[in-house]
Amino acid sequence: MIKQRWGLAAALVLSAMVMSGCGKTAGTQDGKQAQAVTKSVEADNAGKKDGVVVVMNVSSEPEAGFDPAYGWGAGEHVHEPLIQSTLTVTDKDLKIGYDLATDLAVSSDGLSWTVKIRDDVFFTDGGKLTGQDVAFTYNTLRDTSSVNDFTMLDRAEAIDDTTVIFHMKHPYSIWPYTMAVTGIVPEHAYGPDYGEHPIGSGRYILKQWDRGQQVILEANPDYYGEAPKMKKVTVLFMEEDGALAAVQSGQADIGYTAASYTDLTVPGYGLLDCKTVDNRGFNLPAIPSGSVSEEGVPLGNDFTSDVRVRRAINIGIDRDEMINNVLNGYGSPAYSVCDKMPWHEPSAKIEYDPEGAGALLDEAGWIMGSDGIRVKEGKRAELHFLYTAGDSVRQALAADTINQLKKLGIDGQMEGAGWDTAYDKAQTQPLIWGWGAHTPMELYNIYHTMEETGLASYSPYASQKVDQYMDEALAESDLEKSYELWKKAQWDGETGITQSGDIPWIWLVNIDHLYWVRDGLKVADQKLHPHGHGWTIVNNVDQWSWEP
């Protein structure tokens, strides 16, 4: 019986191999034919091609529809809402520019923002966009429970058709970044089914939404700005394998992919490599062990509570080698959670220095033992790295980190964990995290202490000075000046969260976002992408074009 089964298995494998062999030759022939066909079609309507088919991952589909009140544009992957206009926009360097707004002014106490808006904007149903619509949008969003954070907004008030005042509960200097992802909805056409039938004043109109499958967007003919070059945008939602199949069969123009697929060549397609702030790094608990939180979660780690150990780990990791090993070269070294953002402190960058790292560990009293692992007072230098199970990139980063730390005399183990337990375990051990937002609030939430506990939320750390700079940054009325304060929180010359400071987090890499792109499709320059593959790729789809 067993023999028979093995025979069957062998037959199965054989037939699969034969099938794949035949298929491949047939595929190339077919591919050529298909190419010939597309070429002749292209020749027929040269210059007329003005649509694009984009494949995104399944989680990019907004379950609750295209309603800004339920997170469209905001959340895990911030992006421009396309269908609706926003007051401000972020440019390529993540500085603030104007869309609907014509002027922004904030009071000196930071408690009221006065925004002037354009007078020539209409919704696609013909209604005029006024200050009342803006105020209605913000007040509605404040009252709905979604990923948009409006807890700092007291109320929005329309003074007249072109002026809106935002009354804040407390100063919030980075408000323009919130405005950049908040789509304005029409008060006269807003209701429970708005998400399925959105009306906006943006570059595109939602033509059709086949739930679970695709979204079809068409250029808004009455758009007040520059007319979109891409007249029709079709977005498909597929798993990673499906996305690859869509590209290989020539049915999509651009599809997301991962570094592990980059060895493939797809005829007629090239690889687009988008730079990101989608970083990976790990936390190091900065307080000694022994205490527990209110919920009974143990806090702190005796090894990493010594700042010299944390500094040694930071300079003891060769990030370039890691990028080659883990990401096939598709990434950039990360030295902070916000590399290249306007609020990023450039001195966070450090050089790889294994000797310096060793010296720091020696100085901290961790002496190299006979087995190549350092010891201090009978304790071994050990770290237990956690990664979220099922995420192969984080797993590989954990493994590579452990390998590199071995050379410094630090022993490491790794363990997969689910998000249900990971948050708690990270209070005592390093966890491989992924961050990367288009707002400095992330910096705040990672490093600022919480009122109730007096410790930062994701990894125990506390610094009054850092807290103070970030609070001042939020209270600052001038956005440009607030950048300086965010930078000071990272390093002010004496203290901060960088190498010469407390360094409670180690940043490893920024992961490039990769896409297969059909030859001839010109994808406009991308902003630094935030965390996660998603709608950000089509932020400027209106400026994409097909080369003749």
């Binding site: 895990e76 695709q214 029709k232 798993e239 020539g250 249900d420 337990t421 937002a437 939430n445 996660g532």
Partner: protein
Amino acid sequence: MKSSLSGRKNLWFLLKQLGRMAILLFLVSLAAFFLVTVSPIDPLKVNVGQAALGSMSQEQIAKLSEYWGTDLPPIERFLSWAGDFLKGDMGTSLLYRQPVSHVIGVKLSNSLWLMAVSWLVSGAAGFALGTLAGANRGKAVDKVISAYALMTASTPAFWLGLVLLMVFAVWLKLLPIGLSVPIGMEAAEVTLRDRVVHGILPCLTLSISGMSGILLHTRGKMIQVMESDYVLFARARGESKSQIVFRHGIRNVLLPALTLQFASVSEIFGGSVLVEQVFSYPGLGQAAVTAGLGGDVPLLLGITVISAAIVFTGNFTANLLYGAVDPRMRKGRKSA
């Protein structure tokens, strides 16, 4: 007199079955709810995402955890759900922010015909092939069919789906890579032909993987029948093989096959979950996965109850059909 008595008996039988269904649905929903509450998934962290939580104030996080109901006692949540359900209100999906009945309605209309066709095809083809193999035991045709059945029995549906996708969509470019409608086409232009073409691969996958069970059982039963005394007697009377198969074989094999086929509704259901993922087909399976992984309790419970009802109906239909196929069963039921 006699007919009214049997009518009352039939009614009693029906009521009993409906009562069983109600109890079953209650227990299933209770079990599903229990599993959701002990599941380690934190809907807040799953749905909002770690990076989004990172750029949100503590106040907003508290507001959201209230929305996801992470701070309400489970018993309270279940009772309020069950109370509304009895009144005909299946609740509002937390993820889709729409009534659960609406979400399920849309999804079910997508996948119901997919499942129905696969179920019919796998049943009919499995039965026919099984009969053929059983009647020709040991011959080449039997060996080929059995080998095929054993092979598909041990093939995961999603893998089969991927292979079919690679062969027919990517290499041969004959069929679409997935979805239930053509890419970029407006709903008004979608024809029935488009829908059928998009359903071929998922249907084929489900049919192939669902066929083996009924095929192997039918074959086994057929072999038993062919070795029975009454077939020997028929042979002695000079009946031809095809006569034997049609007069004695199929009649005796049909009953267990029907049971199996109606019981396999649940398997088709399970298979469709995986197949819909592979082919990006927007059916109930896909919604169940989203609801389960996202901790959307009202939607998950709604889907569970609906699927349990469908599976129960499958088994119930088998019960009814017994009587139609085999008069002895009908009598047995009456005297009981």
